[in-house]
Amino acid sequence: MAEAVRIYPPKPDKVYLFGTCLVDSFSPQTGLDAIALLEHHGIEVVFPQAQTCCGQPAYNSGYDGEARAVARSQMDLFPASWPIVILSGSCGGMMRKHYPALFDHAPEVVAFAERVFEFTEFLRHVVQPTFSDQGAATRVTLHTSCAGRRELGIHEHGLALLDQLQQVQLVPHDYQEECCGFGGTFSVKHADVSAAMAEDKTRNLVGAGVDEFVSTDWGCMLNLNTTLEYAQQPLRGRHLISFLAERIGVTQPLGKADSEKLFAEVAR
C-alpha cells in the first residue's frame, strides 16, 4: 500500500538514473528523454553503466534468493547520496518496497530505498517544473501501472504533469484502475487470462477516442502495444517522459549515428 506522506528533498544538483532493463532494451529513447528533461531543469544525471535489472522478475516469480543477489549488486552501483530516479513504477515499487523486505529491513537497504524516486514523482515534487507546451492540440489518456497506482500511490503525478500542457486534452478511459494483465511471468504462465485482461484494457483505451496513450511503465506498454498491433488497431502508447520531452521541445531522437556505432561495437 502507498505510504501516507513522503517528505521531499530540495532540488539536487545531481541524480542517479536507473533506466530499467525494459527501457534499456525496448525504449532507449525513454532514457534519453528522461536525461534531457532533467538536464533541462539543471540537474546533472549520472548513469552507472554497470546497472542491469532491479531483480523484480525473479522476485515476482518466487525466486527470492536470485532477486536478493541481483538487488545487492545493483545497490552497490549507487554509492553517493544522490537521489536515484527510476523510469518505472513497478521497478520503483521493487526498490522502495521490496528491497527492504528482502534484506530484513537492514538500515543501509532502508536508506537506499529512501533515495529511490519514480520519475514522475521526482519531477513533480522535487523538480517542480513549469512546462510551456510547444506541441499541437492532441488528446491523450494515461494508463498507470498497478505498482505505480497502489504500491507507490503515484498515479496523481502523471495526471498533474500532463495537466500543465495547455494543448493536451487529458481524457479518462473506462476501468482506469484495472490491471492491463502484464504482471511479468504471469503473462506467459497464464497467457490466456493475461491476454483477456489486455484485450479489455486496450478496448477501453481505444474507446477513449485519443490520439495516443501514455504510461509510466514499459511492462504495461509492451503488453498493450503488442495487443493493439495484433488486433490491427492503430493506437499506440509511449512513455509519459517521451511525451513530455517532445511537448516542451527537449527530446533528442535516436539517430542513425547511434545505431552505426552499435554495429561497430558488436562487430569488435
Binding site: Q29, V45, A58, D64, G184, H190, A257, D258, V266
Partner: protein, 487 residues
C-alpha cells in the same frame, strides 16, 4: 464436493471462451463494487471511513489471532457453560463424522443448511447424502446452485454466474408445477414456498458462524434472507460449524468487524438480520433448538498459523471484496479455481487446506496488481502472500515443514534459467553484450515460440540499448554527459 484446482488452466481457458459467463460476472462485479464504494463513502473521519475502519479491523483480528489457543479454550468453556456443546475436528472427515453422529443420535433424516462456506469446504452435503440424511440448502443462491448440481461460484453470491433465464429453466425443469418465469419476485416466491415446508419439518439446522465470541460463548450469524434464523430457530437440533480463526475475544470486537463485513460484501450498513446465539432453548422458553452444537474445524488453518507471515491469511472475514475487485476472478468466475474459496483469498487459503501440490497453479495466477489488498477490510497483504507462496512452491526450503506440498511447483529448467539470469545481471559486461546482440537480432524475436503470442505480437527490442546509446553519445560529446564517474 470435488476439488479440482489442478485443472485451473483448462478451466480458466474454457471460462474465458464463455461470453455469457463473462458478461454475468462483469455485470455482477460492477454492481458489487459500486455498492461497496457507496457504503464506504461516509464522512465519519477525515481520511474516510474505510482507512480508519480497516486499520481497526486488522488490529482486532491480529490481536485475536495472537491469543488464538487461549481464546478457543475460553470459547469452549463459555459455550459449555451456556449449554452449547463444543466439538473439535482436525480434518473434514472428522467434522463430517461428528455432524453425522449428532444427527444420528436424534434419528434425524432431514437437514436444512444455512449459507456456510465451511460446510462446502468439508463437503458435508455429499457426505450426509451418502448416509441417508437429506441436506437441503436454504439460502436462495445455494438452493439454486444445489438444484443445478453445482457448487457456489462466489462466497457471498453463490449463484452469481447464473442469470434469471437460466434460473427460470432450472426451476421449471426441476420443481413440480412450476411454470417458466423470469420475474425475480416470482422466482423468489417459488423458492420461499419450497423451503418453508422444509424448515417446518427439518430435524436439524446446520449453519456456519461469522464471529464466535469467546468471552460470552456467543455465535454470531450475518444474513439477509432469514434462512439462518430459520435453521437456528425451528429445528430441534442446531449444529454450527466454523473454522478456528473465526473466534474473537469479546463482544465489543464484533461491531467494527460486522460493519466492515457487510459494507465490503454487499455494500450494506448492516444486513437484514444479525443473530447472536448464546444457548439452546432454556427452561420455560417456547421455541428454539433443544440442542446446540459447535464444531471447531482446523483443516489446515493451524498450518497457516504457524508462520508469522502466512498467519495473516487467517485474518479473513470472508467478505468477498477481493474477488469482486480481482481482474482475474472477474474474467474467469469462481468455478475455474476448482476450490471452495475462489479468487484472491482462495489462492492464499486453499494451499493450506489442500496442499501446495494440488494448488500450485493458483498463486501464480495473479498479476499482483494489488486491487485485492486495496479493498481488503482487514488489510491482508494478499499480493505479498501470493509471492510468498510462489517461493514456497519453488523451494522446499524457507519454511521447512510448514506448508504442505512446498517445493512441488519447482521446475528444474525454470530454476536454472533464473539462476543464469541472476548471474548475468550481476555480470554487466555479459549482460550488456547479450542485450546488444538481442537488439541486433531483434527481427528474429517474432519467431520465438511463446504462449505470450496467443493474442499479442512479440515485442521487438530497439535497434540499440540505452547503455550503448549513452556510451556512444558520451564518446562523441566533448562534455562528458552523462558521466559515469562520481565526482
Amino acid at each position: 464436493m470435488k476439488q479440482q484446482p489442478e485443472a485451473f488452466h483448462p478451466n480458466s481457458t474454457a471460462a474465458l471462451a464463455d461470453p455469457v459467463l463473462r458478461s454475468n460476472f462483469r455485470g455482477a462485479m460492477e454492481f458489487l463494487r459500486n455498492k461497496r464504494r457507496t457504503a464506504f463513502a461516509g464522512v465519519n473521519t477525515e481520511e474516510g471511513d474505510f482507512a480508519a475502519l480497516s486499520r481497526r479491523g486488522e488490529a482486532i483480528k491480529q490481536r485475536c489471532l495472537q491469543q488464538l489457543p487461549e481464546l478457543l479454550e475460553q470459547l469452549e468453556q463459555n459455550c459449555t457453560r451456556n449449554g452449547i456443546q463444543v466439538h473439535w475436528a482436525e480434518t473434514s472427515q472428522q467434522a463430517n463424522e461428528i455432524i453425522e453422529s449428532l444427527i444420528r443420535a436424534r434419528n434425524g433424516r432431514k437437514a436444512v443448511k444455512g449459507k456456510s462456506m465451511v460446510t462446502e469446504e468439508i463437503g458435508l452435503n455429499e457426505y450426509l447424502g451418502d448416509r441417508g440424511v437429506d441436506c437441503i440448502e436454504s439460502d436462495m443462491g445455494e438452493f439454486i446452485v444445489q438444484l443445478a448440481g453445482e457448487t457456489p461460484s462466489h462466497i457471498i453470491m453463490p449463484a452469481i454466474h447464473k442469470d434469471a433465464g437460466q434460473i427460470a429453466s432450472l426451476f421449471e425443469n426441476n420443481l413440480e408445477d412450476t411454470p417458466y418465469t423470469e420475474d425475480v419476485d416470482q422466482l423468489i416466491g417459488i423458492g420461499r414456498q419450497q423451503l418453508r415446508e422444509r424448515f417446518q419439518h427439518a430435524d436439524v439446522g446446520i449453519t456456519g458462524v461469522n464471529f464466535a465470541v469467546a468471552e460470552t460463548g456467543t455465535l454470531c450469524l450475518v444474513e439477509n434472507e432469514g434462512n439462518g434464523r430459520m435453521c437456528t430457530t425451528v429445528p430441534p437440533l442446531h449444529i454450527a460449524v466454523t473454522g478456528i480463526e473465526k473466534v474473537v475475544a469479546q463482544l465489543s470486537d464484533v461491531p467494527p468487524l460486522l460493519s466492515l463485513l457487510t459494507r465490503s460484501a454487499t455494500g450494506q450498513k448492516i444486513t437484514t438480520y444479525f443473530n447472536m446465539i448464546s444457548s439452546p432453548r432454556k427452561p420455560g422458553e417456547q421455541d428454539g433448538p433443544e440442542e446446540v452444537h459447535l464444531v471447531l474445524l482446523d483443516n489446515g488453518r493451524s498450518q497457516a498459523f504457524a508462520d508469522e507471515e502466512l498467519r495473516k491469511t487467517l485474518q479473513c472475514i470472508r467478505c468477498g471484496a477481493c474477488m469482486n475487485h480481482c481482474p482475474v476472478y472477474t474474467r474467469i468466475g469462481g468455478h475455474a479455481y476448482g476450490t471452495t474459496y475462489p479468487g484472491p483469498i482462495g489462492k492464499i487459503v486453499s494451499p493450506h487446506l489442500l496442499g501446495l501440490d494440488a494448488t500450485k497453479d493458483l498463486p501464480t495466477a495473479s498479476s499482483l496488481c494489488g486491487a485485492c489488498e486495496e479493498v481488503c477490510p482487514v488489510r491482508i497483504p494478499i499480493p505479498k502472500l501470493l509471492q510468498r507462496l510462489r517461493v514456497e512452491s519453488n523451494h522446499a526450503g524457507t519454511a521447512e515443514g510448514i506448508v504442505r506440498g512446498a517445493g512441488s511447483g519447482r521446475k528444474p529448467l525454470e530454476a536454472l534459467v533464473w539462476k543464469a539470469w541472476a548471474w548475468a545481471c550481476r555480470h554487466p559486461a555479459i549482460y550488456h553484450r547479450g542485450a546488444s546482440l538481442a537488439a541486433h537480432g531483434r527481427k528474429l524475436f517474432r519467431f520465438l515460440p511463446s504462449r505470450w503470442k496467443t493474442q499479442r505480437t512479440m515485442p521487438q527490442p530497439a535497434q540499440i540499448t540505452l547503455h550503448a546509446a549513452l556510451k556512444n553519445r558520451q564518446r562523441r560529446s566533448a562534455t562528458p554527459c552523462p558521466q559515469e564517474k562520481i565526482s
